[in-house]
């Protein structure tokens, strides 16, 4: 049943009325007007909805919002990272619908592995789909951001 849920999103406490079983994605998008994370599949297969939960990438479309209570939720709106500049510099997008999820996944990777190899990037990012096929540019952007950080 819907009730008031308290979340910490992008460093800010937010209160929102939601069913605890509703997906975190729907609460972010419809309840908190944070629309950067996208719906792409509803089964955790495409990665467009990726957000960070205590720094770990999660698929918010299949995560009930109750699981985010008491944790730090970070969405693309709360990310300020050189990877974003690298995506622009490498033109690592076409339609851009997957981009938020890609960047959130990439930031999580760079946090635990500041200088990932090509294979490590592919393994980490393989759950994120880009239908326009800009994969090679996304890999280049992650590497560029890694180098700019180093």
């Amino acid at each position: 049943m819907p009730g008031i849920i308290e979340l910490t999103v992008n460093g800010t406490r937010r209160r929102v009325e939601a069913d605890p079983e509703a997906s975190l994605l729907s609460v972010l998008r419809d309840g908190l007007e944070l629309t950067g994370a996208k719906y792409g599949c509803g089964e955790g297969q495409c990665g467009a909805c990726t957000v960070l939960l205590d720094g770990q990438p999660v698929r918010s479309c299949i995560l009930p919002v109750r699981a985010a209570v008491g944790k730090q939720v970070t969405t693309i709106e709360g990310i300020h990272h050189p990877l974003q500049d690298a995506f622009v510099a490498e033109d690592a997008m076409q339609c851009g619908y997957c981009t938020a999820g890609m960047i959130v996944s990439g930031v999580a990777l760079l946090k635990k592995n500041p200088n990932p190899s090509r294979d490590e990037i592919v393994r980490h990012m393989n759950g994120n789909i880009c239908r326009c096929g800009t994969y090679l540019r996304i890999i280049a952007a992650v590497r560029k951001a890694a180098q700019s950080h180093a």
Binding site: D30, E33, A48, Y97, R137
Partner: protein
Amino acid sequence: MPDERERIEPERYELAAAPAYRFSVDRRDFLGLLGGGLLVVFSAGGQESGRGRGRESLPQDLNAWLHVGEHGSVTIYTGKTEVGQNIRTSLSQAAAEELHCPSGAVKLVMADTALTPFDMGTFGSRTTPTMAPQIRRAAATAREALLDLAAEKWNVDRAKLAIADGRITRADGAESIGFGELTKGQKLTKTIARDVAVARPLCQSAPKVAARDIVTGQHKYTPDLTRPGMLHGRVLRPPAFGATLLTLDAPTLPGVTVVHEKNFAGVAAPDARSAADALRQLKAEWNRQPSAVTSGADLYDSFKKTAEKGEGDVRGSVADGMASAGVKLLATYTVAYIAHAPLEPRAALAEWDGGKLTVWTGTQRPFGVRGELAEAFGIPEDRIRVIVPDTGSGYGGKHSGECAVEAARLAKAAGKPVKLVWTREEEFTWAYFRPAGVIEVSSGAGLDGAITAWEFHNYNSGGSAIQGLYDIPNRRIAFHQTQSPLRQGSYRGLAATANHFAREVHIDELAHAVKMDPLEFRMKNLKDPRLRAVLQAAVDRFGWGKGKGIGMSCGFEKGGYIATCAQVAVEDSRIRILRVVEAFECGAVVNPNHLKNQIEGAISMAVGGALFEQIQFRGGQILNPRFSLYRVPRFSDIPEIEAVLVDRPDLPSAGSGETPIVGLAPAVSNAVFNLNGTRLRSMPLDLSAAPSA
């Protein structure tokens, strides 16, 4: 006979009914809206993409306009849509190059039926060859008018004026003025000058417009929009294609609107979750009459059985050509139905205000969708506004307006704005598919390698690029329409993928039969200098002839010449594409970095159709309508890709969003044959299903 390269396949699969009437935008109203400045309007005269579809191909009064505002801003109004192909960037570049101003000073208002002139739609790689030259001419007309204004203001010879960086300066450097200061207080209208001098594209990379909004999550796609009081919609889908709704029993739920009209049933509720709950509580009884055809061999038989007869395009005598051949081949190729699966599913937000309707929706045909809405609700088009936010891709899959009509129907009943976002399953099931097809090829060649006879029959998949550029004296080429069990429509490149697959694999088979290298065999049978040039560029970069598991293909479509070389490996009966070099020539290059992005993207997308994408269906149901069941290319599938641009600054620019997708599958199939002697004639290529060689 018209040059074969000029032929464009009628977009038979656009799924569009021409609207019965169209109200043109009132030019005076528009001028009032803009305020002062300089407006350049276009007189189309059939310049725009008239693609022979009944009434829609009639010339319209205007089809794009350009405004230089009192603050020096340049705004272009065009009905084209941005779906990831980066025309918002390339069209800005075209105007900025002619106006000699920074491209950041140019703003595009796109795809808003209230603000932009009529446009048939964004498809067929037509923006670059048709819209960009018009915008160039408009910008050049504005440039000349600005020079006239400055000459008049300073009372100097206009030949002594220089225009650069958004300013006009006297040659003696005595005075300089910005576009805005020049047009301040003016209300000037110019018609585009047809004979105005325009430059060729400068071949300059420019960053994607709005990239910053995308990487920060600020760009609003249709599913991200809200309106005050907005409800969320869901539509009740039939259990199978062709099913009709007999009865509907719906409980009364607070705050929920239920709509049932003929075959349509849906709900609107305050939030997405309660809409989904309400949908589950609808009790419907359906009459099912699904087609008996299923995916698999059965499908290809059904195409042959239901095919329309036709002589096709005949030159010389195939019988004579066969009689003189030293080698004869006969082979059948198939392609499966595949889905566009744009990551942004179809979505629409509809709002009624009295008798007026506004719909925000991701579509490639805003004016076509307006027509569909007018027809569905029986209201004139001038009471409907369709606005297309830059959209999460389409690939030819977003030409129709059913989602917009559904959202508007729910909004009408609810008396509130309604947003409808199709689920991934709906997108996989209730949109339309790239046509499947069967292609039969018979051919003959002399032992010297000259092709003497060629007979090519395409059943169902389409006629795009069916001709090919091989120089063959005796040939019969035919496309046969059939009864498709699934709803089918445009897909990036249309049937050019299927026809190139069959032709280029068959050419490889012929080369092998006459014991010639595939490159040498192609060169022997190709005269077209532009195609020979891209083929040479591709093999030079690839290093043709070295290594195992290599294959090639080449071709032409929509003004673009393409040659692809691929290298593959086989691991556990699975094909792995290691390396791809693709050379592409589409006339003068506009933006080399974005052109490479399109080529790389098309090749990456093509990996899916080549290796694993396939819609499976039975009993009128799609069996794999989810990403967990329908495999699309991922990071780990992508080979090393090198795009080789063959720039022809002396030739008009053609589009590049589609043709680079056609070369991969045949090159990979030929590479597999080169590796292990297995000939794969079906897309997707599947070694486990292939008979051993």
